[in-house]
Symmetry: C2
Amino acid sequence: MPACPLCEGAGGELLHQAQAWRLVLADEPEWPGLLRLIWTEHVVELSDLTEPQALELLQVLRRVERVLRDELSPDKVNVASLGNQVPHLHVHIVPRWRDDLTFPASIWTRPEPAAQAHGPLNAQTNTHANIQTNPPSNRQTNTQSRADAAAARRQSTVERLPALRRALVESLRFSH
Amino acid sequence: MPACPLCEGAGGELLHQAQAWRLVLADEPEWPGLLRLIWTEHVVELSDLTEPQALELLQVLRRVERVLRDELSPDKVNVASLGNQVPHLHVHIVPRWRDDLTFPASIWTRPEPAAQAHGPLNAQTNTHANIQTNPPSNRQTNTQSRADAAAARRQSTVERLPALRRALVESLRFSH
């Protein structure tokens, strides 16, 4: 069995360590504010947890999402347990804004490399597993200003991370 | 406020309707077996639910995931509440296989159009929000056989959908 990076490392900046789980702030420069709730035990799927364990995960998840909303006021929160690359149960909790790099696509939908370097954002909103199949209405609009807006959004989010950290640590301090 | 497609329509093939939620089999030919658990009330985020509501959602989710695993034996299950395009609370429950169209990337990571038509799969495993940043080791291997394998996987999954439907309907029949 290959080594598991979430058994061997924190997986980000540790904000709180409870017995059964930890919360980390991910080191993802393009997605500041991305949190990961990581189960301590090496289990793979949500349905591998016992019911009390799953309930604990849910309660922490809801609390974290609430703090994230209070502190960053995102337009949407994305919550996902994927684990295709690291099959150790962890939940991504991602603040999203209409002017971020890939909205309304997922954060896993790669923008054109040029967009990441302030070039055109060729919005790759794919239709797989989306309910709406219309292309985004802004695909033909000013892509340079879109990239600039995404950069500004990242910057303003980075500036709010200290407050987010403080609020999360405070909110979770009695969680064992 | 624009019309909400999940208030106005089922959002897929209805498998079970409870008072607070419904389960549908999505109409996504590239992702057979993709299920959506849709909250009846138009709420946006998980943390908009009351605690008893969230608990009910969790219990159904775990039951559905368990049936999905029993019936389809996927290599991984992906669970995600995104809602950027349709901000009405719904959870995607997606069986994944190592030989599917985009594994280990997300289903929202678009493969090259050619891959969908049995051409090369230029595996777009992006590094955003991934823990591992290494490119997939198979990027340079036989892409045609990869596309063929994905097509075969879709076909074998489609053949198992009747059993999946029956098992889900049976499992949820007493859920009001």
